[in-house]
Subunit: 292 residues, 4 copies
Amino acid sequence: MEEIGFLGMGIMGKAMSMNLLRHGFKLTVWNRTLSRCDELVEHGASVGESPAAIIKKCKYTIGMLSDPAAALSVVFDKDGVLEQIGPGKGYIDMSTVDAQTSSKISEAITSKGGYFLEAPVSGSKKPAEDGQLVILAAGEKALYEEVLPAFDVLGKKSFFLGPVGNGAKMKLVVNMVMGSMMNAFSEGLVLADKSGLNSQTLLDVLDLGAIANPMFKLKGPSMIQSSYSPAFPLKHQQKDMRLALALGDENAVPMPVAAAANEAFKKARSMGLGDLDFSAVHETVKGSKSSG
Amino acid sequence: MEEIGFLGMGIMGKAMSMNLLRHGFKLTVWNRTLSRCDELVEHGASVGESPAAIIKKCKYTIGMLSDPAAALSVVFDKDGVLEQIGPGKGYIDMSTVDAQTSSKISEAITSKGGYFLEAPVSGSKKPAEDGQLVILAAGEKALYEEVLPAFDVLGKKSFFLGPVGNGAKMKLVVNMVMGSMMNAFSEGLVLADKSGLNSQTLLDVLDLGAIANPMFKLKGPSMIQSSYSPAFPLKHQQKDMRLALALGDENAVPMPVAAAANEAFKKARSMGLGDLDFSAVHETVKGSKSSG
Amino acid sequence: MEEIGFLGMGIMGKAMSMNLLRHGFKLTVWNRTLSRCDELVEHGASVGESPAAIIKKCKYTIGMLSDPAAALSVVFDKDGVLEQIGPGKGYIDMSTVDAQTSSKISEAITSKGGYFLEAPVSGSKKPAEDGQLVILAAGEKALYEEVLPAFDVLGKKSFFLGPVGNGAKMKLVVNMVMGSMMNAFSEGLVLADKSGLNSQTLLDVLDLGAIANPMFKLKGPSMIQSSYSPAFPLKHQQKDMRLALALGDENAVPMPVAAAANEAFKKARSMGLGDLDFSAVHETVKGSKSSG
Amino acid sequence: MEEIGFLGMGIMGKAMSMNLLRHGFKLTVWNRTLSRCDELVEHGASVGESPAAIIKKCKYTIGMLSDPAAALSVVFDKDGVLEQIGPGKGYIDMSTVDAQTSSKISEAITSKGGYFLEAPVSGSKKPAEDGQLVILAAGEKALYEEVLPAFDVLGKKSFFLGPVGNGAKMKLVVNMVMGSMMNAFSEGLVLADKSGLNSQTLLDVLDLGAIANPMFKLKGPSMIQSSYSPAFPLKHQQKDMRLALALGDENAVPMPVAAAANEAFKKARSMGLGDLDFSAVHETVKGSKSSG
């Protein structure tokens, strides 16, 4: 594959870029705060001075931004993607954004003759480092096929889901289920503890049963220690819950459990935990006293 | 091991008894509706005419009843366990009941000199047939050790959790998390479908991610078909949610997600779905019209 | 009317007794902690040494206890109501208890030949002092008619609702609606404040609209001050939510809003606020930081 | 006052216009479907052919549209308000919209030199007919003072709440509390009925207590009859819940009860009840069978 551009060196973008470099891809990277690119440069990446400069230089550019506002900004702002995109160039937005944001970006890029693919991922820091993401692509099928070599490095599996918007939607559905599960898990951990059961034994029991899953196994031990080093920041999880609920609202789908989970994440934000890992929602279930 | 008595030939009791017979245990079984014992007899089991008769005949007796009322009834009613229990005899209640019910049975049996173990299980029909249950035992440690050979056949793993009540509590915690997860999953399936995504692709994506778990894999395909053949009846799942919430109430543990899930299961009961599989809660999320 | 016995000098019992004394009734009162009867004695009440002694002395005895356990205890314990109740004597339980507790007391008393009336009230400390309670009576109709003069002093209105249990149930329904409303109100107050609106103006606006009600008017100003002097303790409100939800569970009535409110009250208990006024649930909505 | 323009002849707009006409105001009205203006014309109103035409003709124009999209459309579309607004002209938007929509309209109008006031109302059809609305105005204070004579006819009280956005926010807070209360009330009605209590007696009891309010009194009797003639359509109430929850999200305010209520309204929409009165959420609580 040709040289790839990469916009956004947050937790995810950095891990994905490092992984691409390790597999021999040539990368030109950009981040709003340029210093976050240093480590990548040490490993062989070039740096571009703006999203526009990256697009100009590379046939394919991947964006991995933290939220819809940032995803829009790198495209539409001055020195943004739009200024250089055009026929023969492809932009792949791997950020988790709502379908509306994705459509807006898609329309702008295709109206300039560029190719667009939305390709949000399932998986956080560790899977990003290990190339074990699940990639949910939608949009221009030809572009999907051209960038498959990169997707094969970044993920263990990629899906092509149809028209633009479907990648964003699939991602939201998955993250919504995950957010509710994290709340259910937190409630279980506190209930066990307050009822005189051993928390580690609960983890062992869960791991043997019908609901055993990698997330419980990975997060459980640190949650028991009240340790919430951010792999997937709580405020981003809550954003995804919000967007999933909005999608449900559009389609008249009642989602009472997701709504309760969303409010717990909001409670966590109100407690100042928004920048910790989303497993910090655990703190909302704990009481400040043992009371009655 | 000596001959084992077995009380309760519901879905679970029958599967567990068949499994014990297959592994060479000698069983004497009893059920309120005796005809449900026929298949067991064909495979070599004896039948007892009452719980008391079983206890009299067997050194160890297992009970697997559908709810706290039934669990109490086989012990305390006329011709019940209490009439024949005494020194040298052990009763192992593997039903899912609340801690209070378990304590009541424990006290009655130990006051007669008998040994008691509560040993609720995690896992439904299929794991019961395959000896893949997880057994959560609590109570008399000596009895636990004596019946380990049977537990090794019934389950892939057994835990000894301490004083009576802890088995019941652990079971409730696990089932509560499971019930909330089933709701989260149902909401996800309907949201995907109403948003124009393919339901089977959602299952594939989930199965590759951090929240992949046997329950989603097992139940997903039939839920997409709106097929809810009862492995674990919804009304029993809802009972467990209720008991777990009551345990949380005692200990001042707020569990907003479990509470929302519980109300969805109650909604399902109000729709007449109580005897179907607990995955039928899926129906509460679907609308009757596409509306706006 | 003859002399009336009165068991239970908590916040409510004391206010009701004072009111009866003020209106010329002769009272003999009892409380587990006898010193709480002192003020009543100063205003002319006699003191009885036990529930049994009160029943022996008085034709009619009112009980106003804090919860089902206490209500059962004054009847069934040593020196309790049951020891002296019999033909020609009436016991009126005005505590808020579940229908089951009420039935148990009713059966015990009627089996001894006594008359029983359950008569829980709607209204807290202030209405109790002012004789403005609403009385929800059920059970023995003849007894209801005999004690009407006392009910006319204690309440602005009394209803006879039919068989025993219906008073308790009606009370629970009303308190459940009230508990959910208090949560809705708390959420509104915090949302207004955090959104830059004046809290007092919100109270003014609410008071002019379709949902204006005495509770918002009474509690609003002190809630704005974060002042929660207990008129109706939060732990008792949460008990009523729990019992109402249990009643809904029996009848397969989904009550997602009441369930969410109940969890908020449990959260408040976990924060150590159980003994404050139930309006202290307001604190669960406030965040510890302004965060994002 | 000068002649007033009025845009939007929905349930509310029509009732308000009729009221203004009755009090001697001269009105020029407009509606997308012009036939809805006929009744007004019979009572003396003139008709304008577009929002722009109305603005051109009148010094003050009131808008009362059904949702943010419609509110934006009359301003920004071809032949809209913006084409004729300018110095010396005032536009008063009385629709219930989110703060963002309101700000967008405000900015557009003030940038053309026009005056803007947002003035959403509390109260539905009946109060609109009777001039008993509560008006929540924010924006240009001078304009507020000039249109007070009209506000005095339309409402029993008007508030000036400060900068644009505050009227919208106050309205959302009030409607959110109202929506949660309607759910609490519905749950209470069904719980009473399924528990063997008389629904009318519940209404009587509620009306005597601390939570007595005009909405319960007005809606209760028709809800018991399962009659939901739309005064305030359910889909609009749900929209307000959604916007209030979004406002809470911005400010990190957890609102679990409002969230549960919102999901119930969404459930009602999924059942095809969106065009009925918002009290039709009652139907979501009722079961299809009595089941267990």
